[in-house]
Structure formats: C-alpha cells, structure tokens
C-alpha cells in the first residue's frame, strides 16, 4: 500500500509548539524494537524462571514464608520482564510507564493497606 507523504515532514520539524516536544524521545526511538531473537531470548528466560517457580512445588516442607521469599522475587521479575520487553515499556514514550506503574503501585499500596487493616498478616488470621 502506498503511503503518501504529501503532507508534513517526518519528525523533527521546527515547531511552533513550545516546550512539549519530546525530541529526545524521538532520538531514543532510533534503536528500534526488539528483534524476534530478543523476544525468544526473553521468553526462554521467562520459561526458566517459571521452571524454577514450579520447582518450589517439590519443596515439601517449605513454610509459607519460605515460599513467599523464593517466589515473590521471581514473580516480580517475570512481571517486569513482560512489561518492559513484550509490552515495550522499555522502548516507548515514558508516559506509558508512568501511567501503568501509577495504577499498579496504587493498587498494591491501597490493597495492602486494606489487608493490613483486616489484620491479614497476623498469624492468627483466618483461624
């Protein structure tokens, strides 16, 4: 499909638009998206982490605390890796990261406060 560029220039034109032009951003986009090879590498790392996670299943006597200490970091790393690479947050305009991280952090903080208020962390919870 032909794409006409009869109108306007491609990027970086002198702007009458004060202040908000993310030119630095534009430069950052020069190193392009991850290649397929990168995606596959990322997927393999995720698979390896998942395998490690599943491995904890075989720790028969592990306490909840142990499991949390082992699994939460892996969970967080996997979460971050998917967001940063698969979802392009690493390469895109920072505004996406800000909005998403804000929502995420808000959820974590607010719900943790609620859990705390309901004494979720106490060992006698639920008994």
């Amino acid at each position: 499909m032909s794409t006409s560029s009869t109108t306007g220039t491609t990027g970086g034109s002198g702007s009458e638009y004060a202040g908000e032009v993310p030119h630095a951003d534009h430069e950052a986009h020069q190193h392009r998206h991850p290649t397929d090879a990168t995606y596959i590498k990322v997927a393999l790392i995720l698979a390896a982490l998942t395998a490690l996670e599943v491995g904890t299943y075989f720790l028969d006597d592990a306490s909840t605390t142990t499991l949390v200490v082992l699994l939460f970091p892996m969970m967080i790393i996997k979460f971050a890796v998917v967001c940063l690479w698969f979802m392009h947050l690493r390469f895109d305009n920072p505004i996406f990261k800000r909005i998403f991280v804000f929502g995420l952090m808000l959820a974590v903080v607010v719900y943790c406060i609620a859990l705390t208020s309901m004494q979720f962390w106490s060992s006698s919870y639920g008994s």
Partner: protein
C-alpha cells in the same frame, strides 16, 4: 483559510518504519495506544481487588465446609503446563507484532492464529481443571474459597476469552487485507492487552497455586 498545524509531526515509532507520518498528538503517542495503557492501569485495580478478596477469604473456610487450598488440592504440574502455554502465547503475540512491523502480513497472521490457539488451549486447560475441582467437591457455591477462586480465575479466563475473540477478528481482518499499513498499530495495541492478561496470570499462578 488554512488550518494551522497542530502539534508537530512526531513519529510514532510503530509507524516509523512504514514511513507513515502518524497523526499529530501533543505527546507524540497515538490516542489508541495511550487509551489502552490507561485502561490497563485501571485493570490493575480490578484484578488487585479480586486478588485481595481471594487472599482474604481463602483460608477462612470453617472446618468441614468443603475443600481448602493446598498443594494437594491443586494440580500444580497441570497448571504449570497451562502457565507455559500462556507464556508461550505471549511470545507468539510479540512475534506477531514484530512481523507486522516488518510488513510481513502472512507471518503476523500465522503468529496471531498460534496465539489464539495457545490461548484456547489455556482455556481448555482451565475448564478441565475446574471440572476436576468440582468433582472433588469445590463448586462455586460450596464455600468462600470456591467463590473467591472461581471468581478470580473466571475473570482472568473471561479476559483471555475476549482476547481470543479479538485475535480471531484480527486474523479475519488480515485475510481481508484490512490490517495493513497504519493499522499495524492495532496489533500492537491488542498485544498490550494480551501481555497484560499473561502478566495477571503470572501473579495468579504464584499467589493462588504456588503459595496456597
């Protein structure tokens, strides 16, 4: 009378390769993509609520009121396979986006179909798993564990299913030649949704299954 230009022609990196000048927005990013990220930000609050509810309720089942969560109750090996399936579907989704960035519509379609297939396998796995749980005595109404568990995983499953429908629509559209050029971004934006769904599963797998 000419309308003065609005924001300068900032290129959206997605469209950069295609030589298409994206429309001008104050931030330089497309409206649709920004909207999807805002939506995903809000979805964090949704799943956060469901996960918190699950966490708060799962161990409050009174004795004798039905199954409770444990390594024994769940079938971790089976669910692990489901996790790998979903993870792999994220990969194929990313590859689909990569393909359409390079203008390779056919490859994109193949990866989209694979993603849909893997998503369906995941759902099938969930259905099988839930059927097994019901047989073991955990229904939706059995106790609070059942209600909370099925609601959390159910919401996730609905998100996946909606995603599969959308994937199939994308495949159909690509067959009709309607997914080319600047529509490439649609695939990427959907990809964000799909990866988010995967990311939620990463949380659920650990919190629900591996740390019962």
């Amino acid at each position: 009378m000419t309308e003065t230009a609005t924001a300068p022609q900032i290129e959206d990196p997605v469209l950069h390769d295609k030589g298409v000048v994206s429309h001008q927005t104050s931030t330089g990013v497309s409206n649709e993509k920004l909207a999807m990220w805002v939506f995903l930000g809000s979805d964090c609050l949704l799943f956060g609520g469901l996960i918190s509810t699950y966490l708060l309720l799962r161990h409050r089942v009174p004795p004798g009121h039905g199954p409770t969560p444990s390594h024994q109750f769940f079938d971790i090996p089976f669910t692990s396979v489901s996790s790998f399936v979903l993870l792999f579907s994220s990969l194929t989704m990313a590859l689909a986006v990569g393909a359409i960035h390079r203008g390779d519509l056919r490859r994109c379609r193949t990866f989209l179909m694979t993603t849909a297939l893997l998503g369906s396998v995941f759902i099938a796995g969930q259905v099988y798993e839930f059927t097994a749980f019901v047989k073991e005595g955990l229904g939706y109404t059995t106790n609070i564990f059942g209600s909370a568990f099925y609601t959390l995983t159910g919401f996730h499953g609905v998100h996946v299913s909606v995603g599969i429908i959308f994937l199939l629509s994308l495949v159909v559209m690509s067959l009709r030649g309607k997914l080319s050029g600047d529509k490439a971004e649609t695939v990427e934006i959907f990809g964000l949704y799909w990866h988010f769904v995967d990311v939620v599963w990463i949380l659920i797998f650990t919190i629900v299954y591996l740390i019962p």
